[in-house]
Amino acid sequence: MRGKVAATLLFIVTTRSGGPGAFRFTEVTKESGIEFVHVTGASGRKYMVETMGSGAAFFDYDADGDPDLYLVQGGALPGYSGTGPLEGALYRNDGSGRFLDVTASAGIELQSYGMGAAAADYDNDGDVDLFVSAFGADGLFRNNGDGSFTEVAERAGVSSPLWGASAAWTDLDGDGNVDLYVTHYVDFDFENNPDCSQRKGGDLLRSYCLPDAFSGVPDILYRNGGDGTFADVSREAGVALPEGKGLGVVAFDYDGDGRTDVYVANDTTPNFLFRNEGAMRFSEIAIEAGAAYDGDGNALAGMGVDAGDYDRDSDLDLFVTNFQSEPNTLYRNGGRGVFTDASFPAGVGRPSLSRLGFGASFVDLDNDSFLDLAVANGHVLDNAALLVEDASYAQMNQLLWNRDGVRFDEVTDAGPGFALVKVSRGLAVADVEGDGDLDLLFTNSGDRPDLLRNETEGGGMLRLLLVGRRANRDGVGARLSVDLGEGKTMATELRAGSSYLSQSELVVHFGLGARESVPRVHVLWPGSSEEEIGPLPSNVTAVVVEGEGVIASWKTGKR
C-alpha cells in the first residue's frame, strides 16, 4: 500500500512542471501588430454602459489553422466629443502570432455600441461566423468564405435592441445546428440615468450606478432553424426570466446526461442554471444545484464565467468572477448534479477580495494537466480610489496556479505581462503562435488590449481540431475525456463563448505534463454519437472528424 502511495506521489512530482514560479508572460500587443484602442464614449455623464468594456473573440475566420482575432469596439455616447471612426477590428494571424488589420476588407461594421463576441459556423458551410452583442441592435456577420462578412442579423432574426452582454453558441436541441444564447443585462437608457452620487467626507462625488438602480432584462435563446434564420424561443424554452441581470454565460453539460445546459452569471441577482430537459425545454434549477448563490447564500455580482474540470474527476466545475470585496466563486461539481462552493478551501476566494473580476478562464497555462485560472480585473467606478478604501480603477490581472486539483496558489510573479495595471474586462485564450502553449488576450476599457505571450517552460500538450458531420461543423458542445493514466480522466467541452464578452479559440487543448502519450480520448459529439481515438502522442495537433477519428496530425511545440 505504501509503495503505491509513494509511486503515485512520485508520478505527481515527476509529471508536474515548474510550479507557480515558472510562469512567464510578456505583453506583445504592439509588436504583434495590434493597434486597436477601445473607446468607452464617456463624457462625464456616467452612463452605466460606458463602464462595462467590450470583449474579444479568437476564431479562425480564414480557415488557415491559426486563431485570428476580433476586438469589439464600444462607441460614441451622447455628449462624447471624440472624433474618428469607431469600429471593431479584425486581425488576421499569419501563423506566427503576427496580426494584420483586415477590418476594412472584412466589412464587419456594427451600427451599435459593441459589447461581446461569439463565433461559430452557424450555417455549417465550413467557415466561422461572428455574432456581436451590443447596447442597441446586435450584429450577426456571416462569413462569405473569401475574407469578407455580410451583416445578416435582422434577416436572421437576431438583432435584438436590448442591452446584450455575453453570448454563447451551442447546439441545444441536438439537430446539428448551433443555437444562440444571449445574456441581457439591465433596462438602462440615456433618459433613465439616475444620479448615483456618493458622499465621501464632505464631497458629493458623481458615480456610476450599480445594477440595483435598474430592472433586469430577460435573456434570449434563439433556435437555429438550419436555413439561416433563427426563432426567439426564450419564453417557451423557459429562459425568459425577468429577475436576471446577465453578464456571463457558459454552455456545458453539468450533469453528464448528454444534453448541453446553460449557466448564466447574473450581476447582484441569483445566477441561473438552465437544465436542458430536451426538446428545447429548460428548467431553472440553480438553487437546487447549489449554483445560484455563493456558499453563504449571497447573490453576488456575477460578471464572467467559465467551466472546466479542475479537479480531474470527469465533470465540469464552474468559476464565476464577482465584485470587489466579494469572493470569486469556484463551484465544485460533486457529480450528483450538485455544486459546492469551494472558493475558500481551494484558495480562490481570498485573493479575489481585493479585485473586481470580469473575464475568467480555466486554462492550463503550464501544460501540467491541471487547469489553472486566469482572471481579468478592473473596477467599474473610475473614481473608485476616492470612494472605496483600498480600491483602484485599474487593477492587476491574476493567475492562480492549480497545485493538485484541490488547491490553487496565486502566482505573484508571472512575468511583466501580469504586472500590468489596467481596467481589464474581457479575456480570451488561444495558442496564437502555434507553439503549443496558450496565450492570453485581455481587453481593457478605454485602452489598448494586452496580448500576453506565454513564455512558460511547461509540459507537453495535445490539441484537437474537431470537424462535425452530423454534429455542427465545429463540434461546439462536444465533450472530450482524456485518459491521463493512474485512473485519472479529465473532461472538457468545446465552447463558443465564455469568460466575459469573449470567446477563446475553437480548439480542444489538453496539457499533458511529462506524459509522452495518452492511451485514449473519448469524444461525445453533440447529438450523442461517440467514438474513441488514440493512442495519441504528446505535442501533437490532430484533426478529428466525426465518425472517422484522427485524419491528420502534426507536431506542435516550441520552435
Partner: protein, 464 residues
C-alpha cells in the same frame, strides 16, 4: 425632546459643577434607547465642563447609537485627546475607523489603545470583529493577545479569525471550544463551526452543527441555507430542497434592508427622499422581526425629522412589538393629539387596544384607520380580520383574511392566520390546506408548522 426634559436640562446647565449629573442623565437616556436625548445631555455636560473626556466619550456613544459614525469617531478622538488613558474611547474609535474602512486610522487608534491594558471580553470581541471585517487580521489578533481563558464569544471570534487566515484546523479548535458548553453556545458559533467542518471535508459533522444552530434559532437563514445545500450535495435532495425553500424571499429582504441602510446613511438623499426611505426601512425591519435595528433606525430618523408623525408612529409600533406598551402609548399620544393624525396612528391604536384585550375599541380604531385609507395594505387587512374574528364577526373576518391574501399572495402569515381562524371554526380540512400553503411560502413558519400538526392530529383522531 419633551418640555419637562428641556427645562430639567436647562436647569442643570445653569448650575456649574453639574456636569456629572448631566452625564449620568445622558447614560440613562442611552440605556433607555433615547439616543437623541442622550446626545443633548452629553452636549449640555460639555457646555458646563468642556474638557471633560468622559462627556465627549458619552457624546460619541450617542452619535454611534444615532448611526452618525463620522461624528462619533470625532467625539471619541476628542475624549482620547483630553484623556489619553481613556481606553474605551480609543477602542471605540478603532472599531469605528475599521467599520468606516479607514484602516490606517484604525491601526493608529489601536496602537494607542493596546498599551492601556486589556479591555473587557465583550469589548474585545466587538473590536476584534470590526478589525477582522476590515481585513486587519493581525491587529484583530493583537486585541485578543494570548489569553487562553477566552470566553465562548472570544473563541468564536478567534475561530473566525483563523477561518479568514485559512487555518481551518486551528479555526476548528477554537470553534469547537465555542460550542463545547451547550449553555453558552450560540446559534452563530454552531453555524460557523459547521461551516469550518464543511471546509475540512467533514460534511456529516457540519450537518450536526447546522442543525444545532437551527435548533437554537429557527430563523437563522444562513444556517438553513448551508444545511440545505449540504443535504443536496449528500444526495438528500428532498430535505435539502425543503430547507432552501423560501430562502430567496429572505435574501431579497436582506438585500433591500442593506441597500436602504446604505442610502439613508449616505448623506446624499434629499430630505423628502430620506424620510421616505427611512420609513420604508423601518417597516421592512419590523416585518423581518429585526426590532432593535428598527428602533435604532426610527430613533435616528426622529433626530433628523422630530416633527414627522409617521416616524413617531413607527417608533410606537416598534415599542409595541418590543412589548414596551407604556412607551408606545406615550409616543402615539403625541401623534393622536395632532389636528389630523394619519390613518396609521389609528391602526396602531387598534393594535395597542388589542394588546390590552380591548377588542371593541381596537375594532373601532381599525375602522377609523380604514376609512382614511383607500387601499389598505395586506397586513392591515389581516389584522383587522383577526380582530373581527375576536369580536365574533366571522363573516367579515373571513372576507378580510381573503382580501389580505389576495393583496399579497406571498404573505405566509396571513394564510397561517386564516388557517387558525378556519381551525377555530372547525373547518379542519380547509385549515390544513391553508397551513400547507403557508409552509410552501415559508417552510420555517413556526405558527404554520405547529398549526398543521395540531390539525392533522385532530383529523387523525377517530370521531366518537
Amino acid at each position: 425632546m419633551s418640555a419637562v426634559r428641556f427645562f430639567f436640562l436647562a436647569a442643570l446647565v445653569l448650575q456649574p459643577g453639574r456636569a456629572s449629573e448631566l452625564e449620568e442623565l445622558g447614560w440613562e437616556e442611552l440605556r433607555s434607547g433615547r439616543a437623541g436625548e442622550a446626545l443633548s445631555a452629553f452636549e449640555a455636560a460639555i457646555a458646563v465642563e468642556p474638557l471633560r473626556g468622559s462627556s465627549h466619550y458619552g457624546r460619541g456613544m450617542a452619535f454611534a447609537a444615532l448611526v452618525d459614525y463620522g461624528s462619533a469617531v470625532d467625539a471619541f478622538e476628542r475624549a482620547a485627546a483630553l484623556d489619553p488613558a481613556h481606553g474605551p474611547a480609543l477602542r471605540k474609535a478603532a472599531a469605528l475607523y475599521a467599520q468606516l474602512g479607514h484602516r490606517e486610522s484604525a491601526r493608529d487608534a489601536l496602537r494607542r489603545a493596546l498599551p492601556l491594558g486589556p479591555a473587557p471580553a465583550a469589548e474585545r470581541v466587538a473590536l476584534g470583529r470590526a478589525l477582522r471585517k476590515a481585513g486587519l487580521l493581525e491587529e484583530a489578533r493583537a486585541v485578543f493577545g494570548t489569553e487562553l481563558e477566552a470566553t465562548a464569544e472570544e473563541r468564536l471570534e478567534l475561530g473566525l479569525l483563523e477561518m479568514e487566515s485559512e487555518n481551518y484546523a486551528a479555526a476548528a479548535s477554537h470553534l469547537e471550544a465555542a460550542v463545547r458548553d451547550p449553555e453558552k453556545a450560540s446559534a452563530e458559533a454552531e453555524y460557523e463551526y459547521g461551516r469550518c467542518l464543511e471546509f475540512l471535508e467533514r460534511p456529516r459533522d457540519a450537518e450536526v452543527h447546522y442543525r444545532l444552530s437551527l435548533e437554537r434559532e429557527p430563523n437563522f437563514h444562513k444556517a438553513r441555507f448551508r444545511l440545505g445545500n449540504l443535504l443536496l450535495s449528500l444526495g438528500e435532495r428532498e430535505e435539502g430542497i425543503e430547507k432552501l425553500r423560501g430562502y430567496e424571499r429572505y435574501r431579497k429582504w436582506d438585500r433591500r434592508v442593506g441597500l436602504l441602510l446604505a442610502m439613508v446613511s449616505s448623506g446624499t438623499l434629499a430630505e423628502a427622499e430620506k424620510l421616505g426611505k427611512t420609513l420604508e426601512l423601518a417597516d421592512l425591519l419590523l416585518q423581518g422581526g429585526a426590532l432593535e435595528d428598527a428602533e435604532r433606525v426610527v430613533t435616528t430618523g426622529l433626530a433628523a425629522f422630530p416633527q414627522e408623525p409617521l416616524l413617531r408612529v413607527a417608533l410606537a409600533k416598534t415599542l409595541l412589538l418590543r412589548k414596551q406598551h407604556d412607551r408606545a402609548w406615550e409616543e402615539l399620544g403625541q401623534v393622536l393629539s395632532l389636528p389630523s393624525p394619519p390613518g396609521e396612528a389609528f391602526w396602531l391604536q387598534g393594535l395597542l387596544f388589542l394588546a390590552r384585550g380591548e377588542t371593541g375599541q381596537a375594532l373601532e380604531a381599525y375602522r377609523k384607520a380604514h376609512s382614511g385609507t383607500r387601499d389598505p395594505p395586506a397586513q392591515f387587512l389581516k389584522e383587522m380580520a383577526a380582530i373581527e374574528a375576536l369580536a365574533g364577526d366571522f363573516e367579515s373576518a373571513e372576507r378580510d383574511f381573503e382580501r389580505a391574501i389576495a393583496k399579497d399572495p406571498a404573505q405566509a402569515t396571513a394564510r397561517a392566520d386564516l388557517a387558525l381562524f378556519l381551525e377555530s371554526r372547525g373547518r379542519l380540512e380547509e385549515a390544513a390546506a391553508q397551513y400547507r400553503e403557508a409552509l410552501e411560502i415559508d417552510p420555517g413558519l413556526e405558527a404554520a408548522i405547529r398549526g398543521l400538526a395540531e390539525v392533522l392530529e385532530k383529523t387523525s383522531k377517530p370521531r366518537k
